[in-house]
Symmetry: C2
Subunit: 176 residues, 2 copies
DNA sequence: ATAATAAAATACCAGTAGGTACGAAATTTG
DNA sequence: CAAATTTCGTACCTACTGGTATTTTATTAT
């Protein structure tokens, strides 16, 4: 996970991972079955360990502005996300993934959109979100903007700049 | 250019290009010097032939809303951009590019931001754009949003969906 | 201690990447 | 037409990919 997180998952070879983990290649194949299995396992671990924070933010019962601020903080400033996001990195190079990993990417993507949609629907019911766009559209929008911010961070852009851009993008939800 | 446009530039091998163009490998190397030179030449041609349309839109003297609508149309609906954008594809995988190509990517990126900034400054002077954000920030924002839309199209997403997302993102400029 | 078995690593496979040495073909010059 | 020169493509190189056959090591049973 460390190796995939630090660089581009598609550019990290099995050989490099074995060297980094001081593990023989057959041992890795016994454990994970192959590159696809390894990536899927990494993505699962990453979802449990990191992406869960995003879902957490949505379930904290914060105000809409507070939730957006927390999301902005997490994606654009938090030092943990300095190297970007394994999930969005994999999603960006989806065509290079094995079938199992690709399925995981798709299902995590769908789960994220669903979580945002649920949050927005609740927020609208509570009279906090007054936008007139359909919740599914805005949910997808939020996921894409978070992905953009995390991709920018992976590219080494200044967190302050990323924050400004993301805040601008999310301001749509506050006002419209 | 066709091959790079159709897929991921980093995944198209020199061998594949030679086969596609019915050209021997040494011939390609004599002409372009190597993969880096070829990509740089492709990017130059692409900028002249395709990206120029974006700069064109900015210099048509349209209203702010008209300009944004034209940009949305171009990036999310125009059939020419069905496979995404060579420039943003290369920028997304910048770490894999050779030095010359990377330099071109950076300079095109800077030129695009500068063009948008000039447009916004003029638009503000004409009293058409009333946003209070700094022009450079919004210029960068617009480039990133266009890139996001074109990346989504390259991933095969429904143009109508891409259009909705991009329109939502650009609505920031209209209102704020 | 020794034979049978389970586990793990070394060494290798085929395929492909970018790149080039060198011989063959075409062209220019006398 | 013949010789010198330039142009061009076949065949090859090394490096590295994901993946595995085979041998070596460790463990267990007798």
């Amino acid at each position: 996970m460390t190796a995939y997180w630090a660089g581009d998952p598609a550019d990290v070879s099995i050989n490099a991972i074995c060297a980094l983990a001081a593990v023989s290649k057959p041992a890795l194949y016994r454990e994970f079955g192959g590159e696809d299995g390894l990536m899927r396992a990494v993505l699962d671990r990453y979802a449990d360990q990191v992406l869960s924070e995003i879902f957490d933010i949505l379930s904290r019962g914060l105000t809409l502005d507070g939730t957006l601020a927390a999301l902005i903080q997490f994606a654009s400033v938090d030092a943990k996300m300095d190297a970007g996001c394994v999930f969005f990195k994999m999603r960006a190079g989806k065509h290079r993934l094995g079938p199992m990993t690709r399925d995981r990417v798709d299902s995590i993507d769908a789960a994220a959109v669903a979580a945002f949609e649920a949050y927005l629907t609740a927020s609208r019911a509570a009279g906090e979100w007054t936008g007139d766009q359909p919740a599914p559209v805005v949910a997808r929008y939020l996921v894409e903007q978070l992905g953009l911010a995390l991709t920018q961070r992976a590219a080494g852009e200044d967190p302050a700049q990323v924050q400004i851009t993301l805040a601008l993008a999310l301001s749509v939800v506050r006002r419209a």
